[in-house]
Symmetry: C2
Subunit: 670 residues, 2 copies
């Protein structure tokens, strides 16, 4: 077991080191650009966001590659012990992600305002915070995509050649791709996910603070800018308390144990936020903004709305990806008639799964906007994300148990250990899907906040042409009757499609390369299948490392460059007003299609995965049946959907938005 | 051969009779509603649109079920003879679709204005024409979806159980689903497509006329309303002349022969439209509208832009679905590593294929809007669709040759006949994909015209609250900063996803039922596989008829009811202004995601189909290899994509828009 775990640790560290080296090269260029075009403070903000986002991912990986073997060990004692080790390691990562994100924003903000004495609502502070968000997003998209290509390349390739062709079970030590698969779980599902949620958290808090700085210029801005930070701080404490509620009851229901922790955190947050809001803002204090007047109480209710949205999205995701409900069972049933019908049904489920979350977001927008205008929406998303520590804890639990199962299988431990880790793994599948639905749902709302920040920023600059001469005479018109708005919506709308296509193709290529590699090893070392020869695990890991690093760069730069290119092309054709209108519409276009692309991919992938698990549990013919083979195909298709392209759309949406904000800042400087 | 063709004719007629009986029941209800809530003229307009759209589909089917066996006969003489019969039958359908659509609008318009003496720009005329468009759209969505479910249920089910399980070739007479498959080609690809393009044509002309009536109130409206009709008339004549240019050269290049006809029509149109515009409007005459001033020459250039957009979309579609280019070959290559990688690559290609058409549409919007405002966009789409006769001729050629091949196979004609029909069929695949890209591209632009009609109509009503008291005080705000606009975009955006999911699930169910049925027949009649017993073809046809009729109703009503439901829900929560804003944004939301969903589905499906054909031509192992099996899976997944859900999104987008226009008219009456 130690030997296997060591190989996984080594592979994961080697991959992340190379990934971060590559990202660092891009990062240095952007750091220089930020320092040159904006300010040193912005460049430093960018570096803070980038480095801490990378650190969150790295530490997440370090925790999980150490927890996996301990979970296997604990699982050989009892289910409760296995759960305890796996969840605690997830909780460490979760609190770390949320804590680091909150600290990075809070500390830099206080350095800027308290130590350096900048006015909280000054452009220097806003630019520096936005740059921090950009740093976090940029690293996150690389980590999500690179890790996703690595992990799914291994998974797709390994499953195809192992389960389907050679007829050996998942994680069989004879399959040369197994170690790579386990490395992938750590660099994709752990490191990638941690960087992603760090980014989502940091960007949302920053966007809310930027909105506050614009809405409450002057004396009130400080308190309002601190409010999102206070929400984050409060909920980290309640999340930590919540983790103690995760305990396996007498029913041995793992999912129930995890939900106990989540519900405890949510209820505690509900209470704590009430007193915090009253203390910081006063529940009866009235506030005025250009998009609505409200009291502290209204903001508190917006926070509750955020918690309710989180709960509903978790519930809907579980319906669409859990083995006990119609969608997954319909895919399992469709597998009986072959590969084609499995995939058709899975695609249909993935598309259907977008409807309810979209409606929840729509209702959330209406409710929070009626209560407190745009700032109400911002507070709802902030509160939604404030529980990120707890949600990441549930998610990071997944890859740890997945790895633990793999190690048990490879170390040829007794059957009952593998059964324990399998039970934990199945739950991990659901919690992983839930987290992604949550991240994307929050991105949908969060992106609206970013779009609001863009329009408000633009209004701010155009209102003072004497200070910002570039904006003299600009009259952005965001009406849908403006054809440049339609142009922006279409161009923004195509980005998630193009980005998704690139991610899927990269996985297909990486997976195909693994298939060839495994076939080569089986051919050249016939002893592998007899168990007399050891496969060359390292060759597969190296192959994927190179492939993932190479493939992640171009798609990651797509959302960085697109806003800039669109702006300058429309500027050439028409004028500044048209260009700013098209750019704004692009931000919404990327949210509108991105939300649906991402939701459908993550839900569909989870459903395919669990349909396979449902069949493996003995339904529709069980393991080895034709239905099972069809379900494996579906699972393979779902892999890049749910773990590469789908979740990477989340940082992609936000990068597009943040780049637009930075472009405004740079033009204002010029 | 006669016997087989007879069975196909019988099955197709039986299906369409039942389909139209069901649709007629819905139609009678809506006719009564239109007469009650709007006017008799509107109800009659609805009836004209509905009946002629149905007739176009029916006649298209009648022509093709008679042409198929003649094509088989002619193909046994020579390739040129087969091409000639197949194309001529397609041309009859094409000219009929375009001619009927144009005549229905033109005759009803002249009855209203000349015989009944209504002012061309009066609300009575506008309402009646919009109702005509609604009738055409409603029938078309039923026909597309019902026919699509029938044909792809047969195709998916038949392929899965025949090619993959039983290992018999496509169209093998031992497969009980073959006749149903051939019936499906006629009711789906022929009747459904004819109704769809009838609808696209009629709705676009109507929308352009409505825009003209609003922009040019008073004396000039008449001429401007006649202009789109004149474009249609001109291009039907040039299309008919163009058909004579379709001739097989010495190179025996079928696609080349067809393109000769298309290019001839386009060039002739270019010349004819110049003189027609000069004669009707005057190239130097200046016009003024609220969204731009222009001359007759500018409108003519917009028309050229429409022709160029058509050409570019055809070219891009061929790139993504033709066997000679990277996308299809990459799918074929990915098939080597299994079912999963084939599907992943196919999905990736389908997503990538949306980017270039979207950019073409974007450039088209910018160019035509700068030339002549919103009316310029409308004229470009009208001209684009004016070539529908020629495009349908190319498309209707597909199912005829597909059927001809099936008949040759079932009648066990000599190998070389089958080779001739196969060559024709492969070209038919590409032309089918091209037509769908064209229809959806035009729908993307056409829907913008409909959205413009909505906003202009709304402005018209709110400007005269004394005439339309319901609209007193309404101030619609279509700015993206209005949260109700965002709500509308999201709700509109989810419709194509939900609709697509329903269509795919319906095909999955129908296909699964066919698999069970064929397995039952193989089990109960073991003689079928030895060729000593005849399969029960009729059972499969009956099963699909019932399934398709049952499954088409609910999804078809989704776009009819959604705009009404959204309007009244937002009205309850907020006020009329918010409700009209949300409704307008919904129309754009449905276009933004609908365009990408439809483009990806039709291109992806075509690419999967031709990747299979490419392998069958002897690449990557050829027929019977593992790569071929994987490619068959991909083709199966692509079937409902390209022939059910994808093309049905086209009428769906437009129904949503037209229902919104009708809702405005009804509210104005109240």
């Amino acid at each position: 077991m130690q030997e296997i775990a060591g190989a996984i640790q080594e592979g994961a560290s080697a991959y992340l080191n190379r990934q971060y080296t590559t990202i660092a090269m891009v990062g240095v260029v952007i750091f220089a650009l930020a320092a040159w075009q904006l300010s040193w403070l912005a460049a430093i903000g960018f570096a803070i966001g980038a480095i801490l986002s990378g650190a969150a991912g790295y530490i997440g990986m370090l925790v999980s590659v150490r927890a996996n073997v301990r979970t296997t060990q604990a699982a050989s004692v009892s289910l409760a012990a296995g759960l305890s080790v796996a969840f605690k390691s997830g909780a460490v990562t979760g609190m770390l992600v949320a804590g680091l994100a909150l600290l990075s924003v809070a500390v830099y903000y206080s350095v800027l305002t308290v130590h350096l004495g900048f006015d909280p609502s000054s452009r220097d502070v806003v630019d520096a915070l936005v740059a921090l968000g950009f740093g976090a997003s940029l690293i996150s998209i690389f980590a999500r995509l690179g890790g996703g290509i690595f992990t799914k390349g291994a998974d797709v390739g390994g499953d195809l050649v192992g389960k389907v062709e050679a007829g050996i079970p998942e994680d069989d030590p004879r399959n040369p791709a197994t170690i790579a698969d386990n490395v992938g779980d750590n660099v994709g599902d752990c490191a990638g996910m941690a960087a992603d949620l760090f980014e989502t958290y940091a960007v949302t808090v920053v966007a809310t603070m930027v909105l506050a700085s614009i809405f409450f210029v002057g004396a009130g801005a400080g308190d309002m800018m601190v409010y999102p930070l206070a929400i984050g701080g409060t909920c980290i404490i309640t999340s930590i308390i919540g983790t103690f509620f995760v305990r396996l009851g007498s029913s041995q229901n793992i999912m129930g144990a995890l939900y106990k922790g989540f519900v405890a955190s949510a209820v505690l947050s509900l209470v704590a936020l009430y007193f915090m809001t009253d203390h910081l803002l006063g529940l009866d204090t009235a506030f005025e903004t250009s998009t609505g007047n409200f009291t502290g109480m209204d903001l508190y209710i917006c926070g509750i709305a955020g918690l309710v949205i989180t709960g509903l999205i978790i519930w809907i995701t579980e319906y669409y990806t859990g083995v006990n409900f119609r969608p997954v069972r319909s895919i399992a049933k469709a597998s009986e008639t072959g590969h084609g019908t499995n995939v058709i049904q899975g695609l249909a489920v993935s598309m259907e799964a977008t409807a309810l979350p979209a409606l929840v977001i729509v209702v959330g927008i209406i409710v929070t906007y009626s209560l407190a205008g745009l700032f109400g929406i911002a507070i709802a998303v902030t509160t939604m994300l404030a529980l990120a520590g707890m949600v990441v804890a549930l998610d990071a639990f997944g890859p740890v148990t997945d790895n633990a199962g793999g190690i048990a299988e490879m170390a040829e431990l007794p059957e009952d250990v593998r059964n324990t880790t399998d039970a934990l793994d199945a739950v991990g599948n659901t919690t992983k899907a839930v987290t992604k639905g949550y991240a994307i749902g929050s991105a949908g709302l969060g992106a609206l906040v970013l779009f609001a920040a863009y329009t408000q920023d633009l209004t701010f600059f155009t209102a003072s042409p004497e200070l910002y001469p570039y904006f003299a005479g600009v009259e952005a018109n965001f009406s849908l009757s403006n054809p440049y708005v339609v142009v922006g919506l279409f161009v923004g709308g195509l980005l998630p499609y193009l980005f998704g296509a690139m991610g899927m193709m990269a996985v297909g290529r990486a997976g195909g390369a693994i298939v060839e590699e495994v076939r080569r090893q089986f051919r050249e070392k016939p002893g592998i299948m007899q168990g007399t020869e050891k496969p060359d695990y390292k060759a597969a890991v190296d192959l994927l490392t190179k492939a993932a690093i190479k493939e992640m760069v171009v798609p990651s730069l797509l959302p960085v460059l697109s806003p800039i290119v669109l702006y300058f092309i429309v500027l050439q054709i028409a004028d500044k007003s048209a260009a700013f209108s098209a750019l704004g519409a692009m931000l919404l276009g990327v949210i509108v299609t991105g939300l649906f692309v991402a939701l459908s991919m993550t839900a569909g992938g989870g459903a395919w995965d669990n349909a396979k698990k449902y069949i493996e549990d003995g339904n529709h013919g069980g393991k080895g049946s034709d239905a099972h083979k069809a379900a494996v195909t579906g699972d393979t298709v779902g892999d890049p959907y749910k773990d590469t392209a789908g979740p990477a759309v989340n940082p992609m949406i936000k990068i597009t938005n943040i780049v637009a904000l930075l472009l405004l800042a740079i033009l204002a400087h010029s």
